[in-house]
C-alpha cells in the first residue's frame, strides 16, 4: 500500500507539472499584452500599459479579418451540421462492406493534412472556374469538419431505441413526424456539440484556409502574417482576448453541464 501511495504522489506532481507546461505559455503570452515594451515579453517588466489594446482596437484589418472568420464559421456550421447528421443516420442504417467503405470515405478527410484539403479544393473549383475566396475556405473546412459531426451523431445513435420509431409509426405518425419528434430530439445534444465543435474548428483553421482564401484575411491568417512581419504586443492583446472569451465559453458550458447533471440525478432520485 505504501508503494502505491508513493507512486500516486509522483503522479500528482506530474499532473501539476503537465498543467503548468500547458498553461504557463498562455499566461506568459497574455501577460505580455500589458507590458510597455516593444518586444512582447513579461521580463524585463517595463511598466503597465493598455496601449496594445488601443492599437488593436484601431486596427481596421483586424476587424475585417474578424468579420471574415465569423462569416466562414457560420457557413461551415450551416454546411457541416446537416451533412454530418444525415451522413451518420445513413451510415448507421447500413451494414457490412458498404458501411465500412462509406465510413472510410467519411473519416478520410480527418486523417488528411489540411494543406492537401486546401490545395485539392482550390484545384477542383478552379477547374470549374470558381475563383478562390472565403467561399472555398468554407467548403474546404466543411469537408473534414462534417466528419466530426458525423462521428458525434453516430456515437449518439448507438444509444437510440429504434422501438420508439416503430411505435410512432404504428400509432400513425408520418415520416417527417418520426424524424422531427422522435429521432432528432434524441440527437440534439450531439448536434449541439457538433455545431460548437464545427464553429471552433473553423475559427482555428489555418492550413486549409491558407490555400483557399484568395485575397481575404481570416483571424489566424492575419495573426500569422503579423507574427512574421514584425511582432508587436498587439498580437498578445488579441491572444488574451481570445483566450478569455474561450475560457468564459468553456466555463459556462461546464457549469451548465454540471447543472443538467445534477438535475438529472435529482429527477432520478425522485422517481425511485
Amino acid at each position: 500500500m505504501t508503494s502505491k501511495n508513493s507512486t500516486n504522489w509522483i503522479l500528482h506532481l506530474y499532473m501539476v507539472l503537465f498543467m503548468a507546461y500547458l498553461l504557463l505559455p498562455l499566461i506568459i503570452m497574455g501577460g505580455a499584452a500589458f507590458n510597455n515594451s516593444r518586444f512582447p515579453s513579461i521580463y524585463p517588466w517595463v511598466g503597465f500599459t493598455d496601449r496594445w489594446f488601443i492599437d488593436l482596437f484601431n486596427d481596421g484589418r483586424l476587424w475585417n479579418a474578424f468579420k471574415n472568420t465569423i462569416l466562414v464559421a457560420v457557413a461551415v456550421v450551416a454546411l457541416a451540421v446537416p451533412i454530418g447528421t444525415t451522413a451518420a443516420i445513413l451510415v448507421n442504417s447500413l451494414t457490412g462492406r458498404v458501411r465500412s467503405v462509406l465510413y472510410g470515405f467519411m473519416v478520410a478527410p480527418i486523417l488528411t493534412p489540411g494543406a492537401v484539403i486546401g490545395i485539392s479544393t482550390l484545384l477542383f473549383w478552379h477547374k470549374l472556374s470558381v475563383p478562390s475566396g472565403l467561399h472555398l475556405s468554407a467548403l474546404g473546412q466543411a469537408s473534414y469538419i462534417s466528419a466530426f459531426v458525423m462521428l458525434l451523431v453516430l456515437a449518439r445513435l448507438q444509444s437510440f431505441d429504434r422501438g420508439l420509431e416503430e411505435a410512432a409509426l404504428d400509432l400513425g405518425a408520418n415520416y417527417s413526424q418520426v424524424l422531427r419528434r422522435i429521432l432528432l430530439p434524441h440527437l440534439y445534444p450531439a448536434i449541439g456539440a457538433g455545431a460548437a465543435i464545427s464553429f471552433f474548428q473553423s475559427i482555428e483553421n489555418f492550413n486549409t484556409t491558407l490555400f483557399t482564401r484568395g485575397p481575404y484575411d481570416t483571424l489566424t491568417v492575419y495573426v500569422f502574417s503579423r507574427v512574421r512581419s514584425g511582432i508587436t504586443p498587439t498580437i498578445n492583446a488579441l491572444a488574451l482576448i481570445m483566450i478569455t472569451v474561450t475560457m468564459i465559453i468553456a466555463i459556462t458550458y461546464e457549469v451548465l453541464r454540471r447543472r443538467a447533471e445534477r438535475r438529472a440525478l435529482e429527477r432520478g432520485m425522485a422517481s425511485e
Binding site: A115, R228, I235
Partner: protein, 294 residues
C-alpha cells in the same frame, strides 16, 4: 437501406442520400481526383493549355526525385514527425493513466476543463507563445540566467529543436485524449489482480495496461504524426534557416512559383505519406479505422 425507407419514407431517404453524396463527391472525392490529375500535368502558360504540350507526364514527380534538397526535407519531415509522435506519447501516457485510474472523480471535470483551454486556443497563438518564450531575450533565458544555470543566453530557435518543442506542445493533447479513452475502458480490477499476483508496477503497465491501450496509442499516433507532418504554422514560426519542413516547399510551389501542378504533386506525396502511416499503424496495432477515428 430498406430500413431507412421504412422509417423515414422515400423523400427523406433521398434527402439523406443526396446530402451525403454531395459531401463525399463534391467536397471530398472529386477534389482528391483533381489533385491527382493535376499532379500529372505540366505548368504551362495559359496559351498552351489544351494544346499539344498539354500532356500527362510524371515530370512533376521526377522533379521531386531529382532534387536532393526536396528528398532530404521530405525525409527530415518524416523523421522529426516521428520524434514528435514518440515524445508526445511518452509525456501523455503517465497523465492519461493518472486521469483514468488515479485522479479522484470529483477533480476530473476541473482537470478536463483546464486541459480543454489550450485545445481551444488557436494553433497560431500557441506557437506564438513559444516564440516569445524561446526568443533570445525571452523569459526562458532570463529564468535560466537568473538561476545561474547558464552564463550566456541560449539561441533556442535554431535547427529543429524549437520546431519539435512547438509541435509537441501543440499536438500532445491529440495523443492524451485517445490514450485516456482507451485506458479508461480497462477494468481497474485487472490492474489490481496483476498487483495482487505480485507484478511490479512496470510489468503491470507493460503487460496489462499498454496492450489494452493499443487502439488509443494507434489513434493518438496517427493524429499527432499527421498534424505534425502537415503543420505549416509551427515550422514557419519556430523554424530557423537550418530547419525546413515539407509543407514549406509545397507553399513555395503554390505561392512563389505559382506552379500549382508541381505543388499538387508534392501535396499528393504528403497525402501518400500520411495514408501509408495510417495503414502501417493499423497493421502494427491490429486496429480498424473505426478505432482510430473517434
Amino acid at each position: 437501406m430498406s430500413e431507412l425507407l421504412r422509417r423515414y419514407g422515400l423523400m427523406l431517404t433521398l434527402a439523406f442520400m443526396t446530402l451525403t453524396a454531395l459531401w463525399l463527391l463534391v467536397l471530398v472525392i472529386l477534389p482528391y481526383i483533381y489533385l491527382f490529375e493535376a499532379s500529372f500535368r505540366l505548368y504551362l502558360p495559359i496559351d498552351d493549355v489544351g494544346g499539344p504540350k498539354d500532356i500527362y507526364t510524371i515530370q512533376n514527380y521526377i522533379t521531386f526525385f531529382v532534387t536532393p534538397i526536396h528528398r532530404w526535407v521530405f525525409g527530415l519531415t518524416i523523421f522529426y514527425s516521428s520524434v514528435v509522435t514518440i515524445i508526445s506519447f511518452i509525456i501523455a501516457y503517465p497523465l492519461a493513466y493518472y486521469l483514468s485510474k488515479v485522479a479522484s472523480g470529483k477533480m476530473l471535470p476541473t482537470l478536463f476543463l483546464l486541459l480543454m483551454i489550450p485545445m481551444w486556443v488557436s494553433e497560431v497563438l500557441r506557437s506564438f507563445s513559444w516564440f516569445i518564450i524561446l526568443s533570445l531575450k525571452g523569459p526562458l533565458n532570463y529564468a535560466l540566467l537568473g538561476m545561474g544555470l547558464i552564463s550566456e543566453p541560449i539561441r533556442w530557435i535554431s535547427g529543429f529543436q524549437s520546431v519539435i518543442i512547438g509541435l509537441v506542445y501543440t499536438y500532445v493533447l491529440f495523443m492524451l485524449f485517445p490514450l485516456y479513452n482507451a485506458i479508461q475502458s480497462l477494468d481497474t480490477n485487472q490492474i489490481e489482480a496483476a498487483q495482487d499476483l505480485g507484478s511490479p508496477w512496470w510489468r503491470t503497465h507493460w503487460r496489462v495496461i499498454l496492450p489494452h491501450a493499443k487502439p488509443g496509442i494507434a489513434s493518438g499516433s496517427v493524429m499527432v504524426f499527421m498534424l505534425a507532418a502537415g503543420s505549416i504554422l509551427v515550422p514557419s514560426l519556430l523554424g530557423s534557416t537550418t530547419s525546413r519542413w515539407f509543407t514549406e516547399i509545397i507553399q513555395q510551389w503554390m505561392f512563389e512559383s505559382q506552379d500549382w501542378n508541381t505543388g499538387s504533386a508534392y501535396a499528393f506525396l504528403l497525402l501518400l505519406l500520411c495514408t501509408l502511416f495510417v495503414s502501417v499503424v493499423m497493421r502494427i496495432f491490429r486496429v480498424s479505422l473505426s478505432d482510430i477515428a473517434r
